[in-house]
């Protein structure tokens, strides 16, 4: 009875136990009204199609409308007709008839219905059957992955898989009601009837907040983010990103940084620092292939274009046996397939970049989506670029290669010419081709390509003498380029109602090249006794990293009973990673060429016990790593227990191994030093992490309170440094630059969310500690670079008419750093004196606290939107890093400390246009 009441409330409907009226199914093929009186249109429709519409003749008399019914559903068309009047609307009465009223009519119920009640009231004809179907987006027919489907009034429920399919076993009768929910979309209530197909039943769901001109308030609102369902998991639909403040690009990874447990104070990285972990410890899967580096433009943006994304899930820890190879978190991204019904296109233009997409059906069974974006040298790009490069440029100038130390400056030239050819940009491209081969098979091909290039090269020449025949020319290269190319080909097959498989082959390549060299060409002209000599010399560093990943996967889902599902599969990844660091053309400082093959098998059982109150997921993943030729066992367990309707308890534990690691060191004077290497089990150990997460959530009306405690014990973590390296000639051995140790991360994440309503948002708080113990650095443990003590986030969104306002406020404890405590000088052999600085103990000091307020307003219209947003509204000077300079005067040395800050007050405008 309780459930029945719930149904009634959801629908806001009572009585009228009749079956849905004929109008519900009516599609009007072709009817064109051009500037006709509304009364004429309504009577014409009544006459021709026998529809029942109730209205006040006096009211409708004064309006004229234009509308073209073109294979349009009756109610859909009526909406279009009334839209032209700007003042009228309709609702469905309790007797299931259409009533036209003014928008401000007191007659209009608060929770007015706009769809016919099509419930079947007859006797069920089928019982205890299996229902297989698909959830698709209304309008585009795009499959919706990871949506939840529940049979109201029962314990039966399922989640759609990555292709949008769901299977409900043992549905009690064909007159039940299904409730479909998906973050960012309106909940859909679907009534089954004896006519419902049991195989390939398609349910449409509608994006939230799309009905812009309608004033009616729907009972269901949609959330920007969804937490609490599974331990440590957050779910997001890119559609709702537009509601959050942004700088230049709507960025899903930046949005995740607003959740508790994901650090928001690293402006120079869009990577996910999850619960004391580093971005390389987060597995990023895009349509099944691993993306190894997610940064654009100094990390200010992530590599993911929200126009090409459909669904993102982030597991903050304790993740399923299906995922492996990383120790901290998993971000699983599903790309958009594109509109299956009609061609659609859109474009965004911000002060930073231009972004465009096109989606179209190619045939009845095939769809294509292409999205691309490129930065341009607009004011915002320049601002970010300058913030992130000015320091480097000055330092490069100070360092100055080849100038004799202690001697007079090298400015001996007259006639010096200098050409600066700085050129920098980023672009990315996403493409996805989906082919619904049959009702049981889907083939998808997905491509991602992105590149960042930053070029600060310059050329100068010095000429002497009358003819300018003598002298030297130098050209300095200062180029950083990095990017990803990834592609996957997937075949999904539904073998029968119970067995589903996914086969995937993929390729992923990440490269990062840094060329900071100077070529000096000196020419000595020919004389009577000698010929001309041209000498060429290269000074500086070249660093290259190239990673290739070939993966083959097969995953199965097998439904044993309505409450028990087995998941198993085999994953195999071949990695080739090359890294080279060359100095002055000849000295090969570090050169590594790693090859490795990781083969994994996993098995997980997902079961619901105790009247489905307990969701239990034991699992095991076994990895074989051919470099060490050993097996690595990863037992996993997660559980959720519904204590009451409102209170959930949850826990997860597991062991995780990581074989490929990124050595990430931000270094501006020497260039980008983040590169991937493969563990070898010895000098570069395989990282291991044991997770334990315990938490609970409480839901009350539109509020959610969610608390999770966690501890991670990591072994085999690696720090990279050139700190203890006296031997630069012979090239570095691995032992000299990598230092290994252990780490313990402990913390608690608290989330208080107001999920729905005109005003919604959340408060996130994280208290955590990440302690590292690397004996080479210090005897005592130290806080790791990404340690976050307190982090508080407030995110609020308010909707007023067609405008979305939002605000984000972040407070965070400053990050730890190593400072300089002293300096000394050494007199060199040639008599010159060189100064050296002496650092403090590792990470013994902290930056001042980080805080920032961002606001935005987005005007939504039928054709798109205009968004205004301001980053760092009160222009807080947050410290990125500190620069130290030793100033010596009268034999006394003073240390001058300069704070290099992150981005200050930065406004942005984004125009978005869409075809539909």
């Amino acid at each position: 009875m309780k459930q029945l009441l719930l149904v009634l409330l959801l629908l806001g409907t009572f009585a009228g136990w009749a079956q849905g009226p004929a109008e519900a199914e009516l599609v009007i093929k072709d009817e064109f009204y051009n500037n006709k009186p509304l009364l004429f249109v309504l009577t014409d429709l009544k006459k021709k199609y026998n529809v029942k519409v109730d209205y006040d003749e006096e009211l409708v008399k004064k309006y004229r409308v234009s509308y073209w019914f073109d294979n349009t559903k009756f109610l859909e068309g009526l909406k279009g007709v009334l839209r032209d009047t700007k003042e009228l609307t309709f609702y469905i009465t309790e007797a299931n008839t259409v009533k036209i009223v003014p928008k401000n009519s007191p007659e209009l119920p608060k929770e007015a219905r706009k769809e016919f009640d099509t419930r079947y009231r007859g006797v069920p004809t089928r019982a205890d059957f299996t229902l297989v179907g698909r959830i698709v987006e209304k309008g585009t027919s795009e499959n919706m992955p990871f949506a939840s489907v529940a049979v109201l009034g029962t314990k039966i429920g399922a989640q759609t898989n990555v292709d949008g399919y769901f299977t409900l076993l043992k549905v009690p009768s064909d007159t039940v009601t299904l409730l479909v929910s998906y973050v960012g979309y309106k909940n859909a209530t679907v009534f089954l009837s004896p006519k419902t197909p049991l195989d390939n039943f398609i349910i449409e769901i509608e994006p939230g907040e799309q009905e812009l001109e309608e004033v009616m308030v729907m009972g269901e609102k949609t959330e920007v983010l969804k937490a609490n369902e599974i331990v440590g998991m957050i779910k997001m639909t890119p559609k709702n990103l537009a509601k959050l403040p942004n700088i230049g690009e709507r960025d899903p990874f930046r949005a995740f940084q607003l959740m508790p447990g994901v650090s928001a104070s690293n402006e120079s990285s869009s990577g996910l620092y999850v619960r004391g972990g580093t971005p390389d410890q987060t597995l990023v899967l895009y349509d099944g292939f691993t993306v190894y580096h997610v940064d654009h433009l100094f990390g200010f943006f992530s590599a993911f274009n929200y126009n090409a994304l459909k669904d993102i899930q982030l597991y903050k820890g304790g993740f399923d046996a299906k995922f492996g190879g990383r120790i901290s978190a998993v971000a699983e991204i599903t790309g958009k397939e594109g509109n299956k019904n009609k061609i659609n296109a859109g474009a965004d233009l911000s002060l930073l970049s231009a972004n465009a997409y096109i989606e179209t059906p190619l045939s009845k069974k095939m769809t294509l989506l292409v999205a691309g974006r490129r930065s341009y040298k607009g004011p915002l790009y320049e601002k970010i670029f300058n913030t992130f490069t000015s320091e480097r440029q000055t330092t490069v100038a100070q360092t100055g290669f080849g100038r004799p130390p202690g001697g007079p400056g090298g400015r001996f030239g007259n006639n010096a010419l200098q050409n600066q050819t700085a050129q920098s940009y980023f672009y990315d491209l996403n493409a996805k081709l989906t082919w619904n081969l049959s009702k049981k098979d889907i083939l998808t091909w997905s491509l991602y390509n992105g590149t960042d290039k930053m070029d600060n090269s310059s050329a100068s020449s010095f000429n002497f003498g009358r003819g300018g025949d003598l002298g030297a020319s130098t050209s300095s290269n200062d180029i950083s380029a990095w990017g990803n190319l990834g592609s996957s080909f997937k075949w999904s097959r539904r073998w029968n109602d119970k067995l589903y498989s996914n086969m995937l082959v993929s390729y992923s390549n990440f490269y990062s090249n840094r060329d900071n060299t100077r070529t000096v060409v000196s020419t000595i002209p020919a004389t009577d006794t000698s010929v001309a000599i041209t000498r060429k010399q290269n000074i500086g560093q070249v660093e290259t990293n190239d990673l290739k990943d070939f993966t083959a996967k097969i995953d199965f889902e097998y439904k044993l009973t309505p409450h028990n599902q087995l998941e198993f599969g085999i994953h195999s990844t071949a990695n080739t990673i090359d890294y080279q660091y060359i100095q002055n053309d000849t000295v090969n400082v570090l050169s590594k060429s790693d090859r490795g093959l990781i083969t994994a098998f996993y098995l997980q059982d997902q079961m619901r016990l105790f009247n489905t109150k307990l969701l239990l997921k034991p699992g095991l993943r076994i990895n074989h790593f051919n470099v060490t030729n050993k097996l690595y066992f990863e037992p996993r367990l997660s559980a959720t227990y519904a204590l009451t309707d409102k209170i959930k308890l949850k826990m997860a534990t597991g062991r995780y191994f990581q074989f490929a690691k990124q050595i990430n060191r931000e270094d501006l004077t020497q260039g980008n030093r983040s590169y991937w290497l493969l563990a070898n089990g010895g000098t570069l150990p395989i990282t291991q992490s044991d997770h334990l997460i315990v938490g609970g959530s409480y839901e009350y009306k539109q509020y959610l309170v969610d608390v999770e405690f966690y501890q991670k014990n990591n072994t085999g973590i690696t720090e990279y440094t050139l700190r203890f390296v006296p031997q630069i000639r012979q090239g570095l051995s691995v032992q000299e630059t990598f230092f290994n140790g252990n780490e313990v991360v402990r913390g608690v994440d608290v989330l208080v969310q107001r999920k729905f309503g005109d005003f919604n948002g959340w408060i996130g708080y994280t208290l955590s500690e990440a302690l590292r113990n690397v004996s080479a650095f210090s005897d005592l443990p130290y806080h790791s670079d990404q340690d976050v003590r307190h982090q508080f986030k407030f995110i609020g969104a308010y909707r007023w008419k067609n405008i979305d306002f939002s605000l984000t406020q972040i407070f965070s404890t400053g990050r730890p750093y190593t400072s300089i405590v002293g300096a000394y000088q050494v007199k060199l052999l040639d008599g010159s004196v060189r100064s050296f600085t002496m650092p403090s103990d590792k990470n013994a000091t902290r930056f001042s606290s980080y805080n920032r307020l961002d606001i935005s307003a987005t005007y939504n219209a039928r054709w798109g939107s205009i968004g205004l947003s301001v980053f760092n509204l009160y222009n807080r000077k947050n410290v990125w890093y500190k620069r130290f300079e030793v100033i010596t005067e009268n034999g006394e040395s003073v240390l001058q400390t300069t704070n290099v800050n992150y981005l200050g007050f930065t406004p942005n405008v984004t125009f978005s246009w869409k075809l539909r």
Binding site: E391, P404, P405, G406, G407, F412, N414, F464, G465, I524, T527, T586, V587, F610, Y641, L643, R665, E666, D667, L668, T669, Q670, V694, Q711, F724, V725, P726, Q727, I728, R729, Q730, L767, S768, E769, Y782, H783, Y817, S819, V821, G822, Y824, Q825, V826, K827, L829, G831, S832, F836, M838, P839, S840, D841, N843, A844, Y881, R883, F884, E885, S893, V894
Partner: protein
């Protein structure tokens, strides 16, 4: 069955309490103190400066680190010479040199205790309770050192009238570089330094009387290289007269001193040193010398 369900329900209720307790304890656990690295105000490491050349006694200079700490510090904001240390050098042939303090902060071995090529030398003393040590070997003498010429003609440039900005180099000057070459089959580190030996040398450029520029250095050199040649532009010479051209053969730890050190919190590096519990340099060098004359045109 019913019984077991009840039992399980009770279990979960109990579990719930335990979990809550656990969570609370977890919070306290987090709040409790962990022993981590603390800021060090003054550092206790001595700065060593010693170049061991064959045929010469060991000479070593000891200074303190200049402290930058703002307060509560016992160290000075200037570098001080360290006196009164007992310093020993263990030689690989079994001998032990004991260095005597010859002047404030300067320590030297006896005139008979000379550095010999082929042996290794180990520094050993105690400073503020910590053993300071370092080991080095003496490189072989460079061979095949030659200069493409040893005479240079330069015109004196007079800027005393106060001309600023650029100047035209006088015509007829020698402008082709001097090539210094040597044998280097093992790619050892070398560098060439030029040192003016005149007691009162004449500068090539006469600076304006009220210049802010300090007088030109009488020595200059290139950075250490693993190549077997180096070219020097005649314009680099700042004084007329006789110069020593010294070719040094070096150990890698000396060359490391030329590596730029980080100056931001993102790339702070421990100074390159091979000294345990100390800073600076303790390294063997070897050299060969030629002569270059700079004449006025």
């Amino acid at each position: 069955m019913n019984f077991s369900m009840n039992y399980i329900a009770t279990f979960f209720k109990k579990f719930q309490q335990t979990a809550l307790m656990g969570l609370l304890l977890g919070v306290f656990g987090l709040a409790s103190c962990t022993d981590t690295n603390q800021v060090v105000f003054s550092n206790q490491k001595p700065v060593v400066e010693a170049f061991l050349a064959p045929g010469k006694p060991v000479s070593l200079k000891l200074t303190t680190v200049t402290s930058y700490a703002a307060s509560g510090d016992d160290a000075d904001s200037v570098a001080r010479l360290i006196t009164g240390q007992t310093i020993k050098i263990h030689v690989s042939n079994g001998k032990v040199f004991t260095l005597k303090e010859v002047s404030e902060g300067m320590y030297e071995s006896a005139a008979t205790e000379l550095v010999t090529f082929g042996l290794t030398y180990t520094l050993d003393f105690e400073y503020k309770g910590l053993p300071v040590s370092a080991i080095t070997s003496i490189p072989t003498r460079p061979t095949g050192f030659a200069l493409s010429r040893n005479v240079i003609y330069r015109t004196q440039i007079d800027l005393s009238s106060g001309t600023t900005g650029g100047f035209r180099p006088p015509s007829g000057e020698d402008r082709s570089p001097i090539e210094a070459t040597w044998n280097n089959p093992a790619s050892d580190y070398h560098f060439v330094a030029f040192i003016n030996t005149e007691t009162n040398p004449t500068p090539i450029t006469i600076l304006p009387a009220e210049t802010t520029q300090s007088p030109f250095a009488r020595r200059f050199n290139n950075e250490p290289t693993t190549a077997s040649s180096s070219s020097i532009m005649p314009q680099t010479f700042q004084y007329f007269g006789k110069h020593y051209a010294v070719l040094y053969r070096l150990n890698a730890d000396y060359a490391a001193l030329y590596k730029s050190t980080g100056t931001t919190t993102q790339n702070i590096s421990t100074p390159p040193t091979a000294i345990t519990n100390g800073l600076g340099v303790f390294t063997g060098v070897n050299a060969d010398t030629l002569i270059v004359n700079v004449y006025q045109l």
